[in-house]
């Protein structure tokens, strides 16, 4: 999602367009965002309908006070290692995160992760947002025309497919079009959030909110709380696929680090808490159900239509960087495929999932936590590589050298330490907390599953990379330099 949410930030369109289209390192004059700009971008990114959805789903498990605590703890943890893994290196080198993953996973290994973890994560979010559009339009239809379409009716599927088609159209026009739409969407969603807050303050007492029971909890209160924390940690870490592409446009480490963490954390918390309060007040976790009771038939319908449109542009935004990553990770395979066809290919699975709207909503938490298991382990490995083993030094030239000429070629283009760390870290996550069976290890009650998965991913990476590569002087772990250096021999080979 390079440069889609630029509303409010000072941008130069031509620079942004050029910068966002390639994987080349940006130069100083192309890094256009200071701390204030980047804070605005992150706030706009976080104030989105998915935050309402997460707030609503948190209310399924816990009440208001526990929900706030779970949101703070979960997001603080998830965002912490997500920011360290994606923002810091992308800012320093002016490169999006997928190219910078080559030292950690190898060029083929990055492809494996992009075509599995990243692609599935973004496809899931896209289908969910599209189904939300279908549900929003259904609510408007039921109110305006007295129809009786259910949340899993064919009309939901029809408008979800239409949303996907419009998202594809926006996406196929490129990042400038996405940015143009988002200029209106981000402030609009801020107004919707404020509207919900005002309504809640006027119509619900603080006491009512604090005594409201969770909507569909399990029997074990501690398990409910920790599931809510883990869910929010998963949401925090799920920003990984988009953040590096944005951070590369910032001017200094501090202009990237704190705005990414603070902007996302504060804006996410506000939108999620508002969403949770609305869900507890109305007894429904689905944001599309809230607007009619809150706004009445006219204003409610207007807000729902706006939310539908916001979801379409949000989908375009999150898919943009993923399709770019897919193109890069495929090497020559997809480099000649037209951008519009590539985008259409991405939307095949979300379109199929649109035929099962109930399934996607029911499995939302499962999807977030499962993708969080893999992303957490990935983040752990990336942090161990960049901060511990490389001491923040990556050879820029080696990132781009082909095949064996690159120090990051490892074995057949795969850094097995990286992939091994992801597999072991994710397995450790599932051992502590299995989101399918809900079986938990006692450790889960104290540590969450994301944090230990990241730590295990990092430790496994450190050990394997040291034994397999560093000791044998493979992977440029010792001699990496901060700038463009690569050994003369390798340049000769290239």
């Amino acid at each position: 999602m390079t440069g889609p949410r630029v509303g409010g930030a000072r941008t130069d369109r031509a620079q942004l367009n050029n910068a966002s289209l390639g994987s080349l390192p940006l130069l100083k004059n192309e890094r256009i965002w200071n701390a204030t700009d980047f804070t605005g971008v992150n706030v706009a990114l976080a104030i989105a309908t998915w935050a309402f959805l997460v707030g609503g789903f948190t209310a399924l498990l816990v009440g208001f006070q526990q929900g706030i605590a779970a949101m703070i703890i979960g997001n603080a943890i998830g965002l912490c290692f997500m920011v360290l893994a994606s923002v810091v290196s992308s800012q320093r080198y002016g490169i999006e995160q997928y190219t910078l993953l080559r030292p950690v996973f190898g060029v083929v290994g990055v492809g494996v992760l992009v075509f599995t973890v990243i692609l599935i994560t973004e496809m899931g979010w896209s289908s969910l947002l599209a189904i939300m559009v279908g549900r929003a339009v259904t609510q408007v239809s039921n109110s305006a025309f007295s129809t009786d379409f259910g949340p899993e009716s064919l009309l939901v599927t029809f408008f979800a497919l239409l949303a996907i088609a419009v998202s594809w159209w926006i996406l196929s026009r490129g990042p400038v079009t996405i940015g143009r739409f988002n200029k209106f969407i981000a402030p609009g969603l801020l107004i919707v959030t404020v509207f919900l807050m005002v309504y809640l303050v006027l119509n619900t007492s603080v006491e009512t909110l604090f005594t409201a029971a969770p909507l569909a909890p399990f029997e074990d209160d501690q398990l409910n709380f920790m599931l809510a924390v883990e869910f929010n940690a998963g949401v925090g870490v799920s920003w990984y696929p988009v953040m590096g592409s944005l951070a590369r446009l910032t001017r200094s480490p501090r202009a990237a680090l704190w705005p990414a963490y603070g902007g996302l954390l504060v804006a996410t918390l506000i939108a999620q808490i508002v969403g949770m309060a609305a869900a507890l007040t109305l007894g429904d976790s689905d944001p599309t159900v809230w607007m009619m009771p809150f706004g009445g038939p006219v204003l409610g319908a207007f807000i729902l239509i706006f939310i539908a449109f916001a979801n379409v542009t949000s989908t375009s935004s999150i898919v943009y960087s993923t399709v770019l990553a897919v193109r890069q990770a495929s090497g020559k395979l997809l480099s000649r495929v037209r951008w519009a066809w590539l985008c259409a290919g991405f939307f095949v699975l979300p379109a199929l999932l649109a035929f099962f709207p109930g399934f996607m909503y029911d499995k939302f938490m499962l999807f977030v936590t499962l993708s969080g298991a893999f992303l957490s382990a990935m983040c752990g490995a990336i942090i161990a590589d960049y901060f511990v083993l490389r001491r923040q030094h990556v050879s820029l030239r080696d990132l781009y050298l082909p095949g064996r000429a690159s120090a990051y070629h490892f074995n057949g283009g795969v850094n097995w330490a990286g992939l091994g760390a992801v597999i072991v870290g994710a397995a450790f996550y599932l051992w502590i907390y299995n989101p399918i069976t809900l079986a938990t290890h006692p450790l889960f009650s104290y540590t969450t599953a994301s944090l230990p998965a990241a730590v295990v991913g990092g430790v496994v990476y450190f050990v394997l990379a040291t034994v397999l590569y560093k000791r044998h002087s493979i992977g440029d772990f010792v001699d990496g330099t901060a700038a463009a250096g690569a050994s003369a021999a390798r340049i000769e080979q290239a």
């Binding site: 130069l27 100083k28 703070i72 703890i73 603080a76 200094s252 781009y400 700038a483 463009a484």
Partner: protein, 57 residues
């Protein structure tokens, strides 16, 4: 290697050259300092503790 590849390769070389010479010590390319890193992790821990405090209230 077609024309597009050549253009990209030339552009990459130009950029690597600029980064290696002109921007090498520029503040925008500075590594995150140990103090900044410690502060960042510390703030994250404090916010997590704040969440626990909210729970305990």
């Amino acid at each position: 290697m077609d024309a597009a590849d050549v253009t990209t390769s030339t552009e990459l070389e130009t950029r690597l050259g600029v980064i290696d010479t002109i921007e090498r010590d520029d503040p925008s390319r500075r590594a995150l300092s140990g103090a900044d890193l410690s502060l960042f992790v510390g703030v994250s821990v404090v916010i997590t503790l704040l969440g626990i405090l909210v729970l305990a209230l």
